[in-house]
């Protein structure tokens, strides 16, 4: 007789072992490590929920305390390697293999662990690529998730930080895996149910509320005139030119400058209602002035942001909110929105080569990808037209082919030099050397050059859609690379020709007055200004309160 239900039985055994430590579904925090040792098996795929924001930090610490003789050779399949405990799992031999997306704060520790042989790397994914593999070949055996509260049945309330949880939990629960949730508190009645109880096996009330990284807060006080100049070019030379209404922004200061110029500079240009109305975007505090000035119609978010809860609750016309009034995020949906329903992605990067390939990997630093490669790519499955998409498609070809397709605008917004005079424009990405050193099958490239349509620096805009040869492309990039070696290596005659064809456009070509590139042009010049704009609904985290 064929056995068709072995996974169910294995799951029942795990639950039975876990139940000895639990009371119903509830597990006391001091027994959490014992619970994990009971329900996880050596060699399991586990997702210890850490995104780029919320962290199952208590469960992470409990797992790192497990006995490596009991739990070893785990295969970690999670979007974020963020906490020191995530690295500890590998150092202690509890985990061996890793498939992930983003490593932010551990971006220096990770290459060290790779070199020492403690981490066997599967691949670095984009978020939805990893979520997709959860339902194909990387389904977790055990998911350790995190919620604001649970009720006694095990229903979970996540509030604004729903993030990755539905994707992780569905994949795990429906393929006979075990789901353990860390919660801040157990209550009688939840404000709303984000995850139904029959997908949750055990609940641990953690001694401290879970950690959330305020990842999307950019203090306007740190925005420079150079960033303002480049932002003005992006607004006038790209947003207005193509009529970009549906878009996604990266999280850097460069794009924060654009957000803060909408109610001032863009308003003066008469662009209100014509650009930047519909967003796939985290709740950036720097968008508050544009929202308050009536620029923004709606925003769907990947995750939340610390301090934005009350503001979002009070602006339900703008944000997606539950019946309880609090915002609801979903990283999977929002990433798909960025892929299929926006006409522009704009973000920053650390290195760009002469083909327009970009990378945030530098020597000894692997930050992972997060969502950028997905946001920053042309979705070949897209079939609905829009004006910006069609215009970009037309620019990419000569004449009118029988079959036309549009193009998503993928814009890299950079300064020619980053901190400490490190050039952003390079002949060869550090990523290639690192891949060789670490023997990776694939060098990490954030956005491939053939997906990039425009590069904006303080020197100008390079429109790569209009380039017809590799040489034109190279000179278009050199022509905006400022005083870097790559920029100074330009063929000046060819760059001037590209300028005549509007492949390169400088501030003066766009009629931008350099005297406008000043901080007084920003709608808010400090975190305190943002608070005032929000009617004091925005409650910035302490580390940003510097007044």
């Amino acid at each position: 007789m064929a056995d068709w239900n072995s996974e169910q039985r294995a799951r029942d055994e795990r639950l039975a072992a876990g139940s000895k430590i639990a009371e119903g579904k509830m597990v006391a925090p001091e027994h959490a490590t014992a619970l994990l040792e009971a329900v996880i098996r050596p060699g399991d795929r586990i997702c210890l929920e850490g995104d780029n924001q919320k962290q199952a930090d208590f469960l992470a610490a409990c797992l790192a305390k497990a006995d490596p003789k009991v739990l070893h050779d785990l295969h970690v399949v999670q979007s974020g390697i963020v906490l020191p405990e995530h690295i500890d799992l590998f150092e202690k031999g509890i985990a061996r293999k890793l498939d992930f997306s983003y490593s932010g704060p551990q971006s220096h520790a990770l290459p060290r662990a790779l070199k020492s042989g403690k981490v066997e790397l599967g691949a670095i994914h984009t978020y939805i690529e990893l979520f997709a593999r959860y339902v194909v070949d990387l389904t977790p055996h055990v998911a350790l998730t995190v919620a604001r509260s649970a009720d006694r049945e095990g229903n979970l309330y996540m509030g604004p930080n729903t993030e990755d949880s539905p994707s992780v939990i569905e994949a795990t629960a429906f393929k006979q895996g075990v789901v353990v949730a860390q919660v801040n508190e157990v209550v009688d009645k939840l404000p709303r149910v984000d995850i139904p109880a029959d997908r949750v096996d055990f609940v641990v009330a953690a001694p401290k509320p879970f950690y959330v990284e305020p990842l999307f807060t950019r203090d306007p006080a740190s925005i420079t005139d150079i960033q303002i100049l480049a932002a003005m070019m992006a607004i006038k030379g790209i947003y207005a030119e193509y009529g970009i209404k549906r878009l996604n922004h990266g999280i850097g200061f460069n794009t924060a400058a654009i957000e803060l110029l909408l109610p001032t500079y863009a308003e003066k240009l008469g662009l209100k209602g014509k650009i930047a109305t519909h967003w796939a975007l985290n709740p950036h505090p720097t968008l508050i002035p544009a929202i308050e000035s009536g620029w923004v119609k709606q925003i769907h978010s990947f995750g939340s942001e610390v301090g934005m809860d009350a503001y979002m609750r009070a602006r339900s016309d703008i944000y997606f909110t539950g019946r309880d009034g609090s915002m609801s995020s979903n990283r999977m949906y929002c990433q798909i929105a960025g892929l299929y329903a926006t006409d522009l992605f704009i973000g920053s990067t650390l290195q760009i080569d002469l083909n327009g390939n970009s990378s945030t990997v530098t020597e000894d630093r692997i930050a992972g990808f997060g969502g950028a490669p997905n946001m920053g790519s042309d979705a070949h499955g897209r079939r609905h037209p829009s004006e910006p998409w069609l215009k970009a498609g037309r620019e990419a070809v000569d004449g009118r082919p029988q079959v036309m397709r549009g193009r998503k605008l993928v814009v890299q917004l950079v300064e020619s030099f980053s901190e400490k005079m490190v050039p952003v424009f390079v002949e060869k990405l550090d990523s290639l050397d690192l891949a060789e050193k670490l023997k990776l099958d694939l060098a990490p490239v954030m956005i491939y050059g053939d997906d990039v349509t425009h590069i904006v620096s303080e020197e100008g805009i390079a429109n790569l859609l209009l380039c017809r040869t590799a040489e034109e492309r190279e000179q278009a990039i050199r022509g905006i690379a400022g005083f870097t070696d790559v920029g100074r290596g330009r063929d000046r005659k060819m760059v001037e020709k590209l300028r005549e064809r509007k492949i390169i456009r400088r501030p003066e070509d766009l009629d931008i007055n350099p005297l406008d590139a000043q901080r007084s042009m920003l709608a808010a010049r400090s975190i305190e200004d943002l608070m005032h704009w929000s009617g004091n609904l925005y409650d910035p985290p302490d580390k940003f309160r510097n007044w």
Binding site: T224, I226, E415, S416, F417, M421, E458, F483, P514, A517
Partner: protein
């Protein structure tokens, strides 16, 4: 502190009536620029006081690019550098010439 001095012939004299302008601030990573319309014809002179040694070639390139694109004939420009990046220097220079060129 190092002092660098570059002299150029611009393509034309910078139009405008202002005799003097100042832009920027003396601060780390920033710079202050004083522009004076005191030189004859298309002469242009740029003097830089910088705390960072070893960037002479970069300064030379930035000044040459500025003279080429902005034609600041007639200007003597004094720069008090606080270790600004070349892109910031260039922006301040064109801001300064825009100020001098204003009616």
């Amino acid at each position: 502190m190092q002092t660098l001095r570059f002299t150029h012939k611009a393509k034309s004299r910078l139009p405008g009536k202002k005799d003097e302008a100042i832009i920027g601030v003396v601060a780390s990573g920033n710079l202050e620029i004083l522009l004076e319309r005191v030189l004859p014809g298309t002469d242009c002179e740029v003097e830089i006081a910088t705390p960072l040694r070893g960037y002479e070639e970069t300064w030379k390139a930035v000044v040459a690019e500025f003279v080429e694109r902005s034609s600041p004939g007639g200007l003597r420009i004094s720069i008090n550098d606080g270790g600004a990046r070349p892109d910031t220097v260039y922006l301040r220079l064109i801001q300064g010439s825009a100020l001098m060129g204003a009616e």
